[in-house]
C-alpha cells in the first residue's frame, strides 16, 4: 500500500469513526430530548401590545377582530345585556362576585400569561382570576360526554402539525365571551393554532369558534403576542367579593349572606 494512500486511508477511517461517533452521540442526545426538542419551544411569558393604534386593549380587539356572525337569539340576549348596562348595571355579575374568568378572557387581557411546555402537556398560567389551562399532548382523546367534567378553560387536547401546535377544546362551563362579540356555550367547540413568528419573538394564536346555537358561521380571528423580556415574573391579580369597592355596582346584591 502506498504510504501516502495508507495515511490518507487511516485518516479517512478515523474521520468516519468520528463521524459515526458524532452522529451516534448526537442521535442519543436527540433521543434523550425526545419530541419536545424537535418541536418549537413556546414556553415563557407572552403579552399583547398595541401595534395597530387601538389606544387600549379593547380598542385593539375592535381593530383586528371581525364581528362574530351571531344567531338571532344571541343578538337579542346581547341587546338585553346592553339595556341593563344602560340602566346602570355597571359591574357585571361575574366581576362583582369575583367568579373565575372564563376562557378566553385571559388571552385578550392586558396581563401577560406564562406558558409551560413538556413533552406531554402545555400549561398556561394567567395572572387574572382563573385556573391554569391544561393542554394534553400525550395522545389522549376528549372524554366521552358522560365523563366530561366541564371547566372554565374547557378540556383541551393538542398535537403538533409541523411547527404549529393545534389545540382542540370542548367542555366549557359556558357563559363567557370572545373577542368580536361572540359567546361561549356548553357545546362550543374551539380550534386554535399556536405558531411562533419572527424567530420566536412573537406568537400567533389563530382561534376558530364553532357552535350552531351561537354562530351563523365559524368565528375566526388571530391574536399575536410578544415574548416578554427576560426576567419577567408573574403578578397575582386578586379579587375580593367582600370588598365594597369590588362590588361597586348600583344594582343591590340580592343575597343575605
Amino acid at each position: 500500500m502506498n504510504q501516502q494512500f495508507r495515511n490518507t486511508s487511516v485518516k479517512r477511517s478515523a474521520g468516519i469513526a468520528l463521524l459515526t461517533l458524532a452522529l451516534g452521540a448526537s442521535g442519543r442526545l436527540l433521543l434523550a430530548q425526545s419530541s419536545p426538542a424537535q418541536v418549537p419551544d413556546l414556553s415563557g411569558f407572552w403579552e399583547r401590545r398595541d401595534d395597530v393604534g387601538g389606544g387600549n386593549f379593547g380598542g385593539i380587539l375592535e381593530k383586528i377582530v371581525p364581528k362574530a356572525s351571531l344567531t338571532p337569539e344571541v343578538i337579542q340576549a346581547n341587546q338585553e345585556t346592553a339595556a341593563r348596562q344602560a340602566q346602570g348595571e355597571v359591574v357585571a355579575f361575574g366581576s362583582k362576585w369575583c367568579l373565575s374568568n372564563l376562557y378566553p378572557f385571559f388571552m385578550q387581557h392586558s396581563a401577560a400569561w406564562d406558558l409551560f411546555q413538556t413533552k406531554n402537556e402545555i400549561m398556561q398560567a394567567a395572572e387574572v382570576h382563573t385556573f391554569p389551562r391544561h393542554i394534553y399532548l400525550d395522545g389522549r382523546k376528549h372524554p366521552p360526554p358522560a365523563m366530561l367534567v366541564r371547566s372554565v378553560n374547557g378540556h383541551s387536547i393538542g398535537h403538533w402539525e409541523g411547527e404549529a401546535l393545534v389545540v382542540d377544546t370542548i367542555g366549557f362551563v359556558g357563559g363567557g365571551g370572545t373577542p368580536g362579540g361572540g359567546r361561549v356555550g356548553v357545546n362550543t367547540h374551539l380550534t386554535e393554532r399556536f405558531k411562533l413568528l419572527d424567530g420566536g419573538k412573537k406568537l400567533s394564536v389563530a382561534s376558530t369558534w364553532e357552535d350552531p346555537a351561537i354562530y351563523m358561521k365559524p368565528h375566526t380571528y388571530e391574536l399575536q403576542y410578544y415574548k416578554s423580556d427576560p426576567g419577567t415574573y408573574a403578578f397575582e391579580e386578586t379579587c375580593h367579593a367582600d370588598d365594597p369597592k369590588q362590588s361597586g355596582s348600583v344594582v343591590a346584591p340580592g343575597q343575605k349572606y
Binding site: 485518516k11 479517512r12 478515523a14 474521520g15 468516519i16 468520528l18 463521524l19 461517533l21 458524532a22 452521540a25 448526537s26 442526545l29 436527540l30 434523550a32 430530548q33 419536545p36 426538542a37 419551544d41 414556553s43 415563557g44 355579575f93 362583582k96 362576585w97 369575583c98 367568579l99 373565575s100 406564562d114 409551560f116 411546555q117 413538556t118 413533552k119 406531554n120 402537556e121 400549561m123 398560567a125 395572572e127 385556573f131 391554569p132 391544561h134 394534553y136 400525550d138 389522549r140 367534567v149 371547566s151 372554565v152 378553560n153 378540556h155 427576560p230 426576567g231 415574573y233 408573574a234 403578578f235 397575582e236 386578586t238 375580593h240 367579593a241 367582600d242 343575597q255 343575605k256 349572606y257
Partner: protein, 230 residues
C-alpha cells in the same frame, strides 16, 4: 478528513446547544397525589404562645378566604390532589398547579435572584427561585402576602417575614415525590419548622381538576357561616 470538518464534528459532540436542558436533572413533571399516609408533620415550635384572640383572628381570616373565594396560596395549595408539576423543556422555569382556587406557583430556575422587595408586590404564593443540587430541586420562597389561607401544617401561619425552603426529590424510581418543607420566621417559629409530604405519582391519563368557588352561592355562604347543623 480535513481539519475543519473534524473540528466541526468535535464541536458537535460538545456543543451545549445539543445538550438537553433537562438532561442533568430529574423530570418532576406530572400529576401527584397525596394519600392518607403522605404526611409527616410534627408540631411546630412556636416563637411564643399565641393568644386565643390571635388564633381566633387567624382562623376567621382563613374561613373568610374560603367564604369569599380569595386566592388560597401557599402552603394550602400543596395539600390537594392532584397536584401538577410542569417542568419546562428549556429548564428555565417550573410550575406547580393545584385544583383549588389559587394561582400557579412560578419557580424560576434560570439563575435569577429574588425580586427586590422594593419592587415586588407580595403574593399568596410568594416569589420562588430554584436550583438543582444533584437530584434534588431546592426552592427558596419569600414575599408572601396576607392573601388566602395562612395556616401552616403543624402550627403557625405565614406572615410577610416567612421564608420557605423546599427540597423536591424523586423516590422509588420516580413513583414517589418527597417534598421537605422548612419554614423560618422570626415572628412565628422558635426554630425552623420542618415537615415532609410524600406524593404518589398519579396514573397515566390523570387530568387536572378545577374546584371552582362561587361567592355568590347563598346556600354555600349560609353553610359556611352558620352554626353546624343549622
Amino acid at each position: 478528513m480535513n481539519k475543519p470538518l473534524l473540528s466541526s464534528l468535535l464541536a458537535l459532540l460538545v456543543c451545549p446547544a445539543f445538550v438537553p436542558a433537562q438532561s442533568k436533572s430529574p423530570d418532576l413533571s406530572g400529576y401527584w397525589e397525596l394519600r392518607f399516609d403522605s404526611r409527616n408533620v410534627p408540631a411546630a415550635s412556636l416563637m411564643a404562645p399565641t393568644t386565643a384572640g390571635e388564633r381566633a383572628a387567624q382562623v376567621k381570616h382563613d374561613a373568610d378566604a374560603i367564604r369569599w373565594c380569595h386566592f388560597f396560596g401557599m402552603p394550602y395549595m400543596m395539600a390537594w390532589s392532584p397536584l401538577e408539576i410542569v417542568q419546562n423543556i428549556n429548564g428555565k422555569e417550573i410550575a406547580i398547579t393545584s385544583p383549588v382556587r389559587t394561582p400557579a406557583r412560578h419557580i424560576y430556575t434560570d439563575g435569577r435572584a429574588h425580586v427586590s422587595p422594593d419592587t415586588f408586590d407580595p403574593t399568596s404564593t410568594g416569589n420562588s427561585i430554584g436550583h438543582w443540587e444533584g437530584d434534588t430541586l431546592m426552592v427558596d420562597t419569600i414575599g408572601f402576602s396576607d392573601e388566602g389561607i395562612l395556616a401552616i401544617p403543624g402550627g403557625g401561619w405565614r406572615t410577610a417575614t416567612s421564608h420557605l425552603m423546599e427540597r423536591y426529590r424523586l423516590l422509588q424510581g420516580g413513583q414517589r415525590l418527597s417534598v421537605v418543607f422548612t419554614w423560618e420566621d422570626p415572628k412565628m417559629y422558635a426554630q425552623p419548622h420542618i415537615y415532609e409530604f410524600r406524593y404518589y405519582r398519579a396514573p397515566p391519563g390523570t387530568e387536572a381538576r378545577e374546584f371552582d368557588c362561587n361567592a355568590s352561592d347563598a346556600e354555600r355562604a349560609k353553610f359556611l357561616t352558620s352554626d353546624p347543623g343549622k
